[in-house]
Symmetry: C2
Subunit: 345 residues, 2 copies
DNA sequence: GCGCAGATTGGAAGCGCTTTCAATGCCGGA
DNA sequence: TCCGGCATTGAAAGCGCTTCCAATCTGCGC
């Protein structure tokens, strides 16, 4: 490090070719003789040369940067397992693909939500965006971003968003359906459902699947009690007592995510109930918390880290032009995980 | 958006000044008459002009980018609460200060750890780095990074790292001491300590504080049983049975973090023990899991999000030259949180 | 052996910004 | 009124890279 970092001109000089040829080699351009390519690569190695990404974007007009946008309350806990796992997967994919990930956490308050996201595109010159719920379903936002010429991939978008942009996710409706059917087979016929925020369409799909299963088995609306939480542990503990204090309480509490299920579990414990004897509980996500609580939670596994990775991969294929047709949705597999908050199957 | 984004020249033209004057205004440079400044600002607003950060770094030589480096196993869960919270705090500070945060997760395998981090500096031109444990204490790594002319702030560094670089953290030794003294006052006199990885010096300090407290109260090494985990829930469940299966088992298990404490709790439950009646348990961090498990965990609170924020603030003051003297350490307050895995105080 | 398409190379012109450094304008003191 | 000195502005020169386009070199068919 005896001075400045080497530049592309240093490489060109050392390998005896023009600067533009080095650029070609570096970018895998066509029409470079193998011998020349090798010579350049050697010079690159000798000098330990690295392209300057800033200069590259300036000249090339592509920042090779994508934004990862998720929602979280400034005062609340840090990003939940769901976001953290998505981010990790996205991060890995970015490293592999040579892109930069700009993490952006947007407060819930939301007056200026859209503004903040647009700034991300304008100020930082992001070429693409990964939108996590509930932004995945903010059609207005999506339109605006697209207008800016920015590619978007949504994580777990609802049906309408899927007509606009690419997305990755599991089949939440089917997952809700499968889980509920299995619960019915287990003998349950009075259900409680702790839903999440309405704005998270993918979580709402779980509820739809749940309802369809009930209907398919001839169980009407009177067989289920539905309450709405906000995906937090606390909302689980808060809602549970009131769902249990009714004439014919449910024999199982189906929760839209694991945190709320953990909350429900805690509330049930607090009432001295036996789980799953007195009340069964199920979650969704298969987050670490599902294995940590006692008894461990029956839940639906979804490959969250993989979702994040796939989202980036899709985004990048859009950016590089490898993908050109209309919006596509990549559906990954989910799976029921039977643990001990439900009777053995 | 009828075409390209406006450039600094557009602003210059519209406001009738030279490009360089616009640049001065934008960067708060001196010697610009208020009237001119206002005129330029107005043009900026009219055009909705945003500086192009890539061009700025190319010309100015400063990337306004800092790296956030943490360690995590590719196969393991996503970043724990600790890292996630640090990241969130750092992210917020970066937004405020106009810097970009480049998150980098480095695998544990570590053959190429150092290499990966250096690439982060060389490839991405990071100006500064935030090092999370265990990198905070990797003196060799720190030296190398400093040689590259890159500023560093360590999160929870040990004593030797503090002589080299800036750092933020709580007084882990005092925290361990305080907690243990309180436990002794509560009547405990046989202790189990589930330590973390040796490479995390800050967690080791908790053990040192623990030992000092024991010594101060005339309790020898025979009064405590020490085992080493890896900060995971699983290591807590694994270690607990063997610590309890001894002639005079401890009456309290002090754990170096909350996840292991949660694991210990689960293992104790599994043996049918009453908590805190048969065995008390304490954690460290005051992570969400501490409130989620049953009974909720007595633990030591540390302001993790704030640590992340402060780390970025320190780093940026170094970068801007606002801070020039030797390495400094910013110590934040910790606090004991009494919940229900220990007897009422 | 000649001519042309395609493969290889290089020259030059910026990308949008900051950084010298030189050119003005202004003030008070002599 | 003239001059030094400072405040204010601008012209020019890049930062390190890519892109466009022209130049040269191949190979092949005839």
């Amino acid at each position: 490090m005896n001075g400045k970092k080497p530049t592309i001109d240093d490489v060109a000089r050392l390998s005896g070719v023009a600067r533009v040829t080095v650029s070609r080699v570096l970018n895998g351009g066509p029409n470079v003789r193998p011998a020349v390519r090798a010579k350049v690569m050697e010079a690159v190695k000798t000098l330990d040369y690295k392209v300057n990404p800033q200069a590259r974007s300036l000249a090339g007009g592509a920042s090779r940067t994508v934004g990862f946008v998720f929602n979280s309350d400034p005062e609340s806990e840090p990003n939940s397992y769901y976001e953290a796992a998505l981010e990790l997967g996205a991060l890995r994919a970015c490293v592999t693909l040579g892109y930069q990930l700009l993490i952006h956490q947007i407060p819930t308050d939301s007056a200026g939500q859209q503004q903040r996201i647009l700034e991300l595109i304008d100020d930082q010159r992001c070429e693409g965006l990964i939108l996590c719920p509930p932004f995945s379903d903010d059609l207005l936002l999506v339109e605006t971003v697209l207008t800016r010429g920015c590619k978007v991939v949504a994580v777990s978008p609802g049906p309408s968003a899927r007509t606009l942009i690419d997305g990755v996710g599991v089949d939440d409706e089917a997952a809700g359906y499968d889980l509920t059917c299995a619960l019915i087979k287990l003998g349950h016929h009075r259900f409680g459902f702790i839903a999440g925020l309405e704005t998270h369409l993918s979580a709402e799909r779980r509820l739809e699947g749940f309802r369809r299963a009930l209907a398919d088995h001839g169980l009407g609306d009177d067989a289920c009690l539905i309450r709405r939480g906000d995906f937090t542990f606390r909302s689980g503990t808060r809602l549970t007592p009131e769902m249990l204090d009714v004439p014919h309480p449910p024999s199982v509490l189906v929760c839209a995510n694991d945190d709320m299920a953990a909350g429900a579990l805690a509330a049930a414990h607090a009432r001295g109930l036996d789980i799953p004897g007195d009340i069964a509980i199920t979650g969704f996500d298969d987050a670490p918390v599902a294995s940590i609580v006692w008894p461990p939670l029956t839940t639906v596994h979804q490959p969250v880290k993989l979702l994040g990775q796939r989202a980036v991969e899709m985004l990048v294929s859009r950016l590089t032009g490898a993908m050109v047709d209309g919006p596509s949705f990549q559906q990954l597999d989910h799976g029921l995980v039977w643990r001990q908050t439900t009777k053995a199957f």
